[in-house]
Amino acid sequence: MYAKKSPIFASLLLAFLLSGPAVAHEGHHDHAAPVAPAAHALAPIAARYDLKVNQTNTDWYLWRENDSIETANAAVAQNDIWHRVRGNEYTYRRVFHKDQRVVDYTAGEIKTRHAEPDWSKLASVISPALLRELKKGNSKSLFGQKAVRYTGKLGGQTIDLWWLEQAQVPASLQMTRPGQRMTLALRELHAKSPAAWPRVTEERIADYGQIDAADFGDMETDPFVARVMQQDGHNHSH
């Protein structure tokens, strides 16, 4: 059985993906049973998606390496970076470019907040285990590899997915429920990141203010911290 998890990793995309109760369950690592190869065996990739949530369109990036996952959401100018350390511990860094602030979650803080991620989900955008709950359809070639269609309804959301079997990421994903529609469409897929992509570098964030997430409770009067905490407090799914 699982215990309550803290909602700190609610990026725009993941918040949408995790928002339905059935999908939220799938988000717990202790429930996940990937049908695909384990995440640590996945090849490094750099992917650029078109992300559309309702009427908002933006670029959404994924960089996957053996022990790190980074995403960037151009609409909110935010990068999220997860590192897997010592096998089963995680650190998490949220980079808020508009605010020029970095929030770091140590491995201890992740455990204390019970916010350990489902690594296979981070690495594949959605958990490969989710595929078992969808109806497998036809296949075709996309991005030079086999793509398989999966459809179904989960947690009140209608899902239409084209899944790249080799890369273990969606080629396209559409999730709809009353009043909400999210589409994710892969535009570029590389083994190595193009230099121009907005990945976080030490130089880029050298002058950003750094906050240890453990200090949030002592920083309520900081407008940035108050905003992030409010966002976290409202992003609870269960």
């Binding site: 059985m1 699982y2 215990a3 309550k4 998890k5 803290s6 909602p7 590192h83 010592r86 770091d104 140590t106 491995a107 201890g108 803080e109 455990k111 204390t112 907040r113 019970h114 350990e116 030490e202 050298a206 203010g209 750094q210 240890d212 453990a214 949030f216 409770g217 002592d218 920083m219 309520e220 009067t221 900081d222 992030v228 905490m229 409010q230 966002q231 976290d232 407090g233 409202h234 609870h236 269960h238």
Partner: protein, 515 residues
């Protein structure tokens, strides 16, 4: 009708049924829930308490040494729950247990409001305890006339309040600071630094709008560049926060991708060693800490994590190893005891507060138990006739112990009442939504739910990562404004009594030292 009322009605009905039975012999089963005490034990224990209390004599002599323990966020509900957990970890029911300092002869309540806060943060509360003055939110050891965000070093100097650590140094005593938080964090920092903004821990935290000249020093720099008399006196500083002492160009020795936070390019850890003579040392891991011989080391700086040190629950898994709060306390006392004129030592259990903010009671309680162990070690190493030990908290948290759980019920588990009928098994109590609830909970914080509450029937609420349910959704659970406890033993400890303003703690310590 509430659950409790229902119980009473049912109990009365059962009593009536048994009464109607008249001469019928009723052989009730033995209670499933039983304390270990005999009937006589209750009376005897009370008599023993009074007998021992009669023998308590105030220690009116001056204190050679003063040790101030602060459990950050260690409210009374935290103490009660930690005491029970410690007892249960030792295979006892738990309620009868006492944390080490709960055996101290003198106790008082501390009013924790600050000059401008009903419920305070750690900066004005520690300022109150260490300077004798209540102060403003977020400010360290400056008076309440200090403007918010004041950058000017001259203004800060004009408004600075002398701390007990500085006064002990001026009196020729040795001094030390220990924390499981960053050594630049509010509570330990208030002992040696003066600033209008507690977050200015490294120079990179000071905004550019402050300019470049005449600006107050960041807290890490203040630790290294204390006045000559404090520099001579401050023998030991142990805690976390080493990146605040390292240049941005330097990589952390323990975490390969972590860098220092200083813009000025200075390595303050090296400066600690280079400015304090041949017998100065710096340690960043357990092996180096262990290697520091108190007999041959005069000045020891230990910074065991880039930020706060590990929670006690996680400490054993730290890659480079870290000393416990008890071990840091022990080594500090060993070093300070070399001073013939005595010493002042401040020890903070800093991570109780952080675990509560995360809504994680288990970790908060384990850190509280560790603080209790550190106090026990200090008691073992000191003479009660010459050392005043005070244990208190800076503020509380919105942490509660709820329901009517039976004696010995797992303090981290679901609340289970005493069965209505002896012999019946215990079962989780049900709330108004007909679902069980935990004994421990928070009024606000990350554990809050929107919509229906989760059914905890099959949830392991004793797991280290479990977040107790809360009412008001907040990203971080908050402090609470009720009084906290003060425990005291040793010279002048009897001055700790009744309802006290938090800043009076300073005045008791000062009186004990005879300054």
């Amino acid at each position: 009708m509430s659950n409790h009322m229902q119980r009473k009605v049912i109990a009365r009905a059962l009593t009536a049924i048994f009464a109607l039975g008249g001469a019928l012999s009723v052989h009730a089963a033995a209670p499933v829930v039983q304390g270990p005490e005999s009937v006589q034990d209750w009376y005897n224990n009370g008599q023993r308490f009074v007998h021992e209390a009669r023998r308590i004599q105030p220690e009116n002599n001056r204190a050679k040494n003063v040790i101030l323990f602060v459990g950050d966020g260690m409210g009374i509900s935290t103490l009660t729950a930690a005491r029970i957990l410690e007892g249960q970890l030792n295979a006892r029911p738990g309620e009868e247990n006492r944390l080490s300092f709960e055996k101290f002869p003198y106790v008082a309540l501390s009013k924790t409001y600050s000059w401008d806060q009903q419920t305070s943060d750690s900066a004005p509360t520690m300022t109150a305890m260490i300077t004798g003055y209540k102060a403003r939110e977020g400010q360290l050891s400056v008076n309440h006339l200090t403007p918010r965000g004041e950058c000017s070093a001259a203004v800060i100097a004009a408004n600075s309040l002398p701390t007990l650590l500085e006064q002990a140094a001026a009196a020729g005593k040795a001094t030390g600071v220990v924390s499981t938080a960053r050594i630049t964090h509010a509570t330990p920092a208030a002992t040696y630094s003066h600033t209008a903004v507690r977050d200015w821990e490294a120079d990179s935290n000071i905004p550019a709008s402050c300019g470049t000249t005449g600006v107050v020093k960041d807290i890490a720099r203040q630790l290294i560049e204390v006045s000559p008399v404090v520099k001579n006196s401050l023998k030991v500083a142990l805690g976390g926060g080493r990146t605040y002492f390292m240049p941005k160009t330097a990589f952390d020795p323990e975490y390969a991708t972590t860098k220092g936070r200083r813009n000025d390019g200075r390595d303050l850890t090296a400066e600690w060693v280079s400015t304090r003579g041949a017998k100065a040392a710096y340690a960043w891991n357990k092996a180096q800490f262990d290697a520091a011989n108190p007999a041959t080391t005069d000045y020891l700086l230990g910074l065991f994590e880039p930020s706060h040190v590990q929670y006690e629950a996680d400490r054993a898994k730290d890659p480079a190893g870290e000393p416990s709060l008890t071990e840091m306390t022990e080594k500090s006392i060993q070093m300070l005891q070399k001073s013939k004129k005595g010493y002042f030592l401040h020890v903070e259990g800093g991570r109780i507060d952080h675990a509560h903010h995360a809504g994680n009671a288990h970790r908060a309680l384990l850190d509280t138990i560790e603080l209790s162990k550190a106090v026990k070690k200090a008691m073992e190493m000191t003479d009660p006739e010459e050392t005043l030990i005070i244990v208190t908290a800076d503020h509380s948290h919105v942490f509660t112990i709820a329901g009517y759980p039976h004696r010995g019920n797992d303090i981290l588990g679901l609340a289970k009442e005493v069965p209505l009928v002896d012999g019946n098994p215990t079962a989780p109590s049900k709330a108004g939504d007909n679902m069980p609830y935990t004994t421990l909970g928070y009024q606000n914080g990350p554990g809050a739910v929107s919509g229906a509450r989760a059914d905890l029937t099959s949830v392991d609420t004793t797991a280290l990562g479990y977040l107790q349910q809360a009412v008001v959704p907040m990203g971080s659970e908050t402090h609470a404004g009720e009084d906290v406890a003060i425990y005291a033993t040793g010279p002048k400890a009897h001055l700790v009594h009744g309802s006290m303003e938090q800043n009076w703690i300073y005045h008791v310590m000062k009186e004990a030292f005879g300054f």
